[in-house]
């Protein structure tokens, strides 16, 4: 498997995701945002960070960069796209995924491990997790408050596009376990075709047992299936 990792000015998880993908024998190419061609690949990753210093709105400037036309073309062929954190924000700004990510409800940057439920384990990104798996993955964001109008949320539910949901210490999905005010505790979604995933948590940050948590491992193993 080959992955293209898009690097924007201000990306800062680009090398982390490269290390993670390579651990699972996925070959990586780093692609600067001003390139106008994407090498052939199975997967495109939009990494975390603060592209363009979060000017205007998080992800908005990156979503208009030259390379994104190629990412949209890549996605339209059914090939995989993953947007993590800032990458998720970029995906909503390009409208490859519905909704938007607002400022965290409590107006604080949150950087901690969080409990998640794998709501849909039939996607190409989650098929190595058990159904309703209870996992811990770190989050680190200021704008992760997922918002979509009622009609969109209903569609996300009906089409089983909600992939990860925030939950409390007992893995109950409720307000207590919602760190940022996201609608329906949404932490990650896919498009209807299930080839594009956006998520706020960072699976690339928990792939080594010696770091305490390694619940990101099945995420990368899913890609290889």
């Amino acid at each position: 498997m080959i992955a293209n990792i898009i690097v924007f000015p201000g990306s800062n998880c680009d090398r982390d995701i490269k290390v993670a993908l390579e651990k699972f024998q996925i070959k990586c190419k780093m692609i600067w945002h001003q390139e106008n061609e994407l090498p052939k690949a199975d997967l495109v990753v939009l990494p975390g960070g603060f592209s363009y210093g979060d000017y205007l709105r998080c992800g908005s400037m990156a979503s208009k960069s030259v390379i994104m036309n190629e990412v949209i073309k890549h996605a339209s062929t059914g090939a995989y796209v993953i947007g993590i954190c800032n990458g998720f924000q970029i995906l909503t700004e390009t409208k490859l995924l519905p909704g938007a990510l607002l400022r965290n409800y409590m107006l604080k940057f949150i950087c901690r491990r969080i409990n998640l439920i794998v709501k849909n384990n039939t996607t190409p990104f989650t098929n190595k997790y058990k159904n309703k798996a209870k996992i811990k993955i770190p989050i680190a964001h200021n704008e992760g408050n997922y918002y979509a109008d009622e009609a969109t949320l209903k569609k996300l539910e009906e089409n089983e596009q909600i992939v990860f949901q925030y939950c409390d210490e007992n893995y109950e999905i409720n307000n207590n376990g919602n760190p940022n005010g996201s609608s329906l505790n949404i932490a990650g979604i896919v498009n209807k075709k299930q080839n594009i995933l956006g998520m706020m948590p960072h699976p690339e940050r928990c792939i080594e047992n010696f770091l305490g948590e390694a619940d990101g491992i099945p995420f990368f193993e899913s890609l290889l299936k």
Partner: protein, 80 residues
């Protein structure tokens, strides 16, 4: 032609920053403030003399970049 462009969160979208500012104004003892919503302001000069054409350019800028219409709405007025 010079424009003032305002971007605000849609009414149905919560604005926690606006709410925090509203509370801070209250705690300063400033009376009579009902609600505060925070937004963005842009000053844009368009190289176009015809009003309709200039407005069309601003509208396109709002729709394509300045506002994210999933969560925001825009308004503008000509100042010169």
């Amino acid at each position: 032609m010079k424009f003032e462009v305002f971007i605000t969160l849609k009414k149905e979208v919560l604005d926690p920053q606006g709410k925090a500012i509203e509370n801070a104004l209250g705690s300063l003892g400033i009376q009579g403030i009902e609600t505060v919503r925070q937004g963005k302001y842009f000053s844009i000069v368009i190289d176009e003399k015809e009003k309709n054409k200039a407005e069309k350019i601003v509208k396109t800028a709002c729709q394509k970049l300045l506002a994210n219409e999933t969560i925001e709405e825009y308004s503008f007025k000509i100042v010169k």
